[in-house]
Symmetry: C2
Amino acid sequence: MATMNDETDAWLKSSDSSDYFALLKMPTIGADPLHLRDCVQAATWLKKWLGTIGAEAELLLPSGGGAAVSASVPVVFGELKGGEGATTVLVYGHYDVQPPDPLEAWQTPPFEPTLKDGRVYCRGAQDDKGQLFAFLCGVRALLAAREGRAPVNLKFLFEGQEESGSGTLFRLLDDAGFRKRLAADVLLVSDTGAAADLRPAIVAGLRGVCHFTVRLAAANRDLHSGEYGGLAPNAAQGVAELVASLHNPDGSIAVPGFRDGIEPPTYAEQAAAEAGFATEEQLRADIGTEPCGGQLGKTPAQRNGFEPTIEVNGIHSGYGGPGSKTVIPCEAFAKLSMRLVPGQSPAACCDAVKRHLKDRCPKGMAVSFPEDGGLSAALRLPLASPLFRLAEDVLTEMDPRGPVFLWDGASIPVVSALKAASGAAPLLVGWGQPEDRIHAPNESYSLRQFALAKDWARRILAAF
Amino acid sequence: MATMNDETDAWLKSSDSSDYFALLKMPTIGADPLHLRDCVQAATWLKKWLGTIGAEAELLLPSGGGAAVSASVPVVFGELKGGEGATTVLVYGHYDVQPPDPLEAWQTPPFEPTLKDGRVYCRGAQDDKGQLFAFLCGVRALLAAREGRAPVNLKFLFEGQEESGSGTLFRLLDDAGFRKRLAADVLLVSDTGAAADLRPAIVAGLRGVCHFTVRLAAANRDLHSGEYGGLAPNAAQGVAELVASLHNPDGSIAVPGFRDGIEPPTYAEQAAAEAGFATEEQLRADIGTEPCGGQLGKTPAQRNGFEPTIEVNGIHSGYGGPGSKTVIPCEAFAKLSMRLVPGQSPAACCDAVKRHLKDRCPKGMAVSFPEDGGLSAALRLPLASPLFRLAEDVLTEMDPRGPVFLWDGASIPVVSALKAASGAAPLLVGWGQPEDRIHAPNESYSLRQFALAKDWARRILAAF
């Protein structure tokens, strides 16, 4: 009888693990120009890898030229023809990762894949190099079992800027010729999570996102809190008042107009979301405190899946070092991001929040918005589709509990764009778990998750 | 007729300027252990300087020993006997300065005294090496005119930790023998400001101060604002709500019990404070925005002199770099300082604010107070005293407008302690102006202010 250790040993000897580790070792921080070479190296590696399974692949950059283009991170695009008239599947993933900071919190080097107790620790072990590459291993296994013949027409699209705005890919999508090359029936994305206990999950919705920076300016310099206390307006207090004004005491959003246009979920969607969502106990154990964000009186599934949020991602003003410095700060910054649900216009939501802040700007201060970013609408996929029924069947074969449907609180802005460009129906199935700690130190991915992602790829591609 | 340039040239050739510049060049950042040697050097220099005018001086450190003592910054204490039965005057000042950060904002090197348009630019040019040393130049001139005989018994006390809590001095004050040596009739302090247009000012009150750091903890880690938005409590939003809760919409303090015990000013005090205070226009020009801090409906003089404040000196949580990082911060910090008026107990005020914050701690979060500092009560000096009348006469000789009385919004915690230790009546007359920019880059002190401080020393000491 094969033990767990035997299985691990076998995996470690496979090309699945050696290739995976090779990909992980490249520090593909797509947002950092210092890591552009690593990104190009990883893209080149993926292109060659696709060649080994018979796909024709190339690296793409937007035409036009100039410094911005030469500095950008390439997209990998590959094709592997199946039979005439077969379904065409576009497989999307990203090879870039978040920066590893704070470095001192890592127990192993962030770009040295380390296997411990059945989990691989490395930045990108899951998000998204792990999920992407496990899927590719499934493709390789499927082709090997069919003497290299693909059951579907496969198109591969891997970008290196998902964590920083998908700049290259969005510019490529401006080109009609490129959009035509993407034409597909199904868009398969491996960048999402499974439900609790690794029960399979199909994403039925994603929230949209927009974000900006608020600057509040008061006096012409930081002032002595004694000499000017009671006289000068305080920007740190002002930003606190502004930020506090965004929500009502019950946690609901207090910004006029922010909820305009929201399309509420159907009963079926709500029921399915409740069924697939983590329990309060699971959430509490995960985050280490009460899962009490959002509006009082709504369930966690509602608050995360069907309600918008305004989050303060950062607030900074005045002195932050040891001891005290009795100043009245003259400026303050807050970083805000909003998650949006179907029916909300990202631009209108940004405008509503900015107008709210301007209208409430404390006396003696001026509010401005020095940085803007990302406008992406929510994605809502129809529950009752043939594609979802097929995926449901495949996932029930893999796990008798069958899949749950998730309305993911996060955003993958590129999915809406790829849906529009390719004409394909999105199918988002992934195997992430909270304990993977993506975007945080000591990110990891278990061999069990890797095996499930690989198995999913093999089965779904064979099922079309 | 002597021109301005002639006067400047004469001053530059005098020992007043060369000694002053020598003292300024020593980077006496008392709070920074790396500058302990510079502080010891400056203390030694002052001791020797006192010797040149005939005073017996020494450097003092608390007895006891150990690393803390060897690392502490010495106090300079000197004595110069006057005639039998003469008034004893204790002269207090400090030779330490604030750190010069941010360095890039200085137009000349912060420890290179630079004369430009009648002003000396240097960290400490005013606070307090300039005010202290100009006073000493007055003492020297007075003695020179009297063949070295002092009209009063002079005691000098110069510390090197005023900007960082007066540690050495407070420890010395624990010693009854030292307190006895400080016994005096008058405590002369040169560390305050004049009124607008350099009209002389006598400080009739100082606010007290206390401060602490607030930490707010939420989840066990920073969380993805999409995956956890609507679920996890947000520490940045929590700290904003807590800070905003400290004040009412009219700017008054909302902390229960905070105003307990306040002794309101008399009509005479209020009238004198109004007469001596900067106008709204002057304040606006100084700070570059509306002087609208504090409670609506009270005058600037009331708000700065007779009202307590709670100021946010800093607020920090989550991401603060360029662009966006869509996290839900798991912790947040705020630095609070309170200015107190007569009748308020510093310890009780700190407790009241902490209780207020604990009572309002947002759900899912925990509030704690990792740092505490400085508990100093307000100082109220009687308007109708013979000492004030004498000072008024001297200052009216110097300036026909006569002095105003100031209730200084700032705090000099050591004054109350020295008053108690020496039994002396405090007399705080200084020549600071807002444009000196103390504690900020490009601090400066004009030759005019230097001359006034010197003249004041000569005249007041001769008048006792």
